[in-house]
Subunit: 342 residues, 2 copies
C-alpha cells in the first residue's frame, strides 16, 4: 500500500498538498491537482483510515446498535439501515452495524469510548433503555430510533404512532366501520415497555373512545398460530366486528386464516388493515393486505441527520421528529356490512 508520502514524491509536491487535494479544504491550482490525482491513480493510493482518524480525531464512522440479530423473522429494519447508510455516505460518513443485544450495552460503550465511532444510533429503544442511559453518562453522541419515557428531551426520531393509529381508525370509520378490533404485539412486549406496543395500544383506545366507539384490543404473540386464536377471540368478544387493525405481521397471517376458515370474506365481511408494516408484506397475503407502511427510510435519514447535528456544531441541530406511516393500498379494505345475522 502506498502512502501519502509516496504520492507526494511521485507528484513532486508536499504531503500537505496531497492531503489538501484529498480533503479540498484549501485551494489547489488546477495543474497541481491534476498531477496529484494522476499520481494517486497510478500508485493505486488509498488513504489509511486509521491514520486519518487518529490525526483528525474523528473516525467518520457512525455505529448502529443492531439488536435485530436477536429476532428471527420480521422486522422493518432493512429499509432503515439502507437509508441510514446512504445518508451517512452522502455526508462523508460510513455506517457500520454493531451486533450487540440490548443487554450487551457495555460492550458497545467500550467500543465507543475506544474511539471506534464518532456517534451511535440506537434502534428499538424501550421505555427505560439502559443503553441510552449509559451512552449519555459516557457522553457518547447518540440518537435514538424510538423514545424513552422522557419524551422529547433526548435526541430521537420515531414513528408517529398516535397519528398512524388515528388515521387508521379514521379511515375505517370513514368506510362505515364502528366495531373495530386491534391486534397488538405480545403482552410481554407491552410489559417490557416496548414503545410501539405501548403507544399504539393507547392510541387505539383514544381514537375509538374519542368517537364514542368501544375499543376491542388484544395483545398477541408474533406468530400465525396465536394470531388466529386471538382473531377468534376478537370475533367472539364482539360479534359485530367488521374491521381489524393489526400491528403484528406474523399474527396477520393467522387473522386471515381464521377469517377464511369461518367463511368470512375479506373485505366483504371483515376489513383488515396492517399498520407499521414492512415493505411488501401486503403482497404476501390474498387478498393483498392494505397496509400503513412504516416510514423506515425517512427515519433512517432523519436519525443520521439528528446525530450529525450533534457531531458537527456547524450543522443545524435537527429537532426530534415523529413520522406517521404511509397508506399503501391493497385489497383488504371495504365498506362496513352488518354482520350479525348475515
Amino acid at each position: 500500500m502506498s502512502t501519502i508520502a509516496d504520492v507526494a514524491r511521485h507528484a513532486g509536491v508536499s504531503v500537505s498538498t496531497v492531503s489538501y487535494a484529498l480533503s479540498g479544504s484549501r485551494p489547489i491550482s488546477a495543474g497541481t491537482r491534476t498531477r496529484v490525482e494522476a499520481s494517486m491513480k497510478e500508485l493505486g493510493y488509498q488513504p489509511n483510515a486509521m491514520a486519518r482518524s487518529l490525526a483528525a480525531r474523528r473516525t467518520q464512522v457512525i455505529a448502529l446498535l443492531y439488536p435485530e440479530v436477536e429476532r428471527g423473522l420480521g422486522g422493518t429494519g432493512g429499509e432503515f439501515v439502507r437509508a441510514a447508510a446512504e445518508r451517512c455516505r452522502e455526508q462523508g460518513y460510513q455506517l457500520v452495524l454493531w451486533p450487540f443485544r440490548s443487554d450487551e450495552a457495555d460492550q458497545a460503550l467500550t467500543l465507543a469510548r475506544q474511539g471506534m465511532a464518532d456517534g451511535v444510533l440506537v434502534m428499538e429503544v424501550v421505555t427505560d433503555d439502559q443503553r441510552v442511559a449509559k451512552l449519555e453518562a459516557a457522553r457518547v453522541p447518540y440518537a435514538m430510533i424510538g423514545r424513552t419515557t422522557d419524551a422529547g428531551t433526548r435526541p430521537s426520531v420515531d414513528v408517529d404512532f398516535d397519528t398512524t393509529v388515528e388515521q387508521a381508525v379514521a379511515h375505517l370509520v370513514g368506510l362505515g366501520h364502528r366495531h373495530i378490533g386491534f391486534v397488538n404485539h405480545s403482552q410481554a412486549m407491552l410489559d417490557a415497555g416496548y414503545g410501539p406496543t405501548v403507544r399504539a395500544a393507547a392510541a387505539f383506545d383514544k381514537a375509538m373512545t374519542d368517537r364514542g366507539l368501544v375499543p376491542v384490543s388484544r395483545t398477541c404473540e408474533d406468530s400465525p398460530v396465536v394470531g388466529r386464536a386471538v382473531t377468534a377471540d376478537l370475533l367472539d368478544a364482539d360479534p359485530d366486528l367488521t374491521a381489524i387493525v393489526t400491528m403484528n405481521e406474523l399474527a396477520t397471517f393467522g387473522v386471515y386464516a381464521e377469517l377464511h376458515s369461518r367463511g368470512l370474506s375479506i373485505p366483504g365481511d371483515v376489513s383488515v388493515l396492517g399498520i407499521v408494516s414492512s415493505p411488501g408484506v401486503g403482497t404476501l397475503s390474498y387478498p393483498p393486505l392494505t397496509t400503513m407502511h412504516s416510514p423506515g427510510a425517512a427515519l433512517g435519514r432523519l436519525a443520521v441527520d439528528c446525530l450529525l447535528g450533534q457531531l458537527d456544531p456547524a450543522r443545524a441541530a435537527v429537532p426530534n421528529q415523529l413520522i406517521p406511516c404511509v397508506l399503501e393500498p391493497g385489497m383488504s379494505l371495504g365498506p362496513a356490512r352488518t354482520r350479525r345475522g348475515a
Copy 2:
C-alpha cells in the same frame, strides 16, 4: 479521555511499561502491574483504537459483508452473526457488519483497502460472485459462507446441502414414503446460481433417483401465496404424493394452507419436512413443523476461524468445511399412507 501517557505518569512508570502491561507481551513485575492497573482504573483509561491500529498495523476488526438488509422477512443470518461475533471476541477481534448490497462490492473493497478491517467475511455467496473475485484481486483476506464454482480452492464454510437433503430423503423413505415432492426457492435464484438453490435441487434429484424414486421438484417464490399454488401443482402432478420437503420458509405457510384446504391432514395424509430452516420457524405452524435446522452458529464460528487462520500465520490453517443441518423434531412427520382413492 486520558491517554497512555497519563496512565504512565500517574503510575510512575514509562509509557512502554503501560503498553506491555496492556498487551501482556513482555513480563511485568507484580507490583508494577498492580500500580498500572490501579492507575488505569482510576483514570478510566480506554486505549484509543485508532492509535493502536495505526501503530500495530492491524485493526483487530473483522467485517461481515451483510447483504441481508436487502431482503425482507426470512433469513437464518441471526444465529450466524451472533456466533461469529462471539467467536471474534474470544479471539480478540471485533465483528462489525458492513451493510452493502452485493452490487456495492466496490465500496466494501475500498473500506478494506483503507484498512478499516483486517479481513472480510462474505455471506450469501453466489456461484459466480463478483465480491469474492474483487477481494481476491485486491489481496484482502476473506472467507466465504457459501461457495463459488471453484469449490474447495477458496477459503469457505458452507451448509452441507448434499448430506442434508440425502438425510431428509432417507428419513422420509425410512417412514415408508416413496412419492416425495420438493419445494425450492425461486427460479430466479436458481438461474442466478444461488448456491443453496442449485445444490439442493441437484441433491434432491440424486437422492431420489439413487433410490429408484421419481423426484417431483418445483421452484417457488418466497411467499405463502405462491407456496400454496406450487403445493397444488405438486399434488396434481403426483396424486400419490405423501411427503413434501421444503427449503422455502415463507412458502411453507402456503404448503400448510393448501393441504388444510384440501382436507389433507399433517402428518396423517402428507408429511412435511422443512430443511435449512431458521431457528424456531417450526413452532410458527400447526402442527409444529419438523425441520432440519441450518447450522448457523457452527458456521459462524468456523468462518471466523477460517479467516483468522489466514490473518495470523501462527494459527493453524482451517480447512474448508461443510456442515449438515440438524433434525429438530416437530409433529409434521409420520408414516406414509396410500393416498390414491383414500
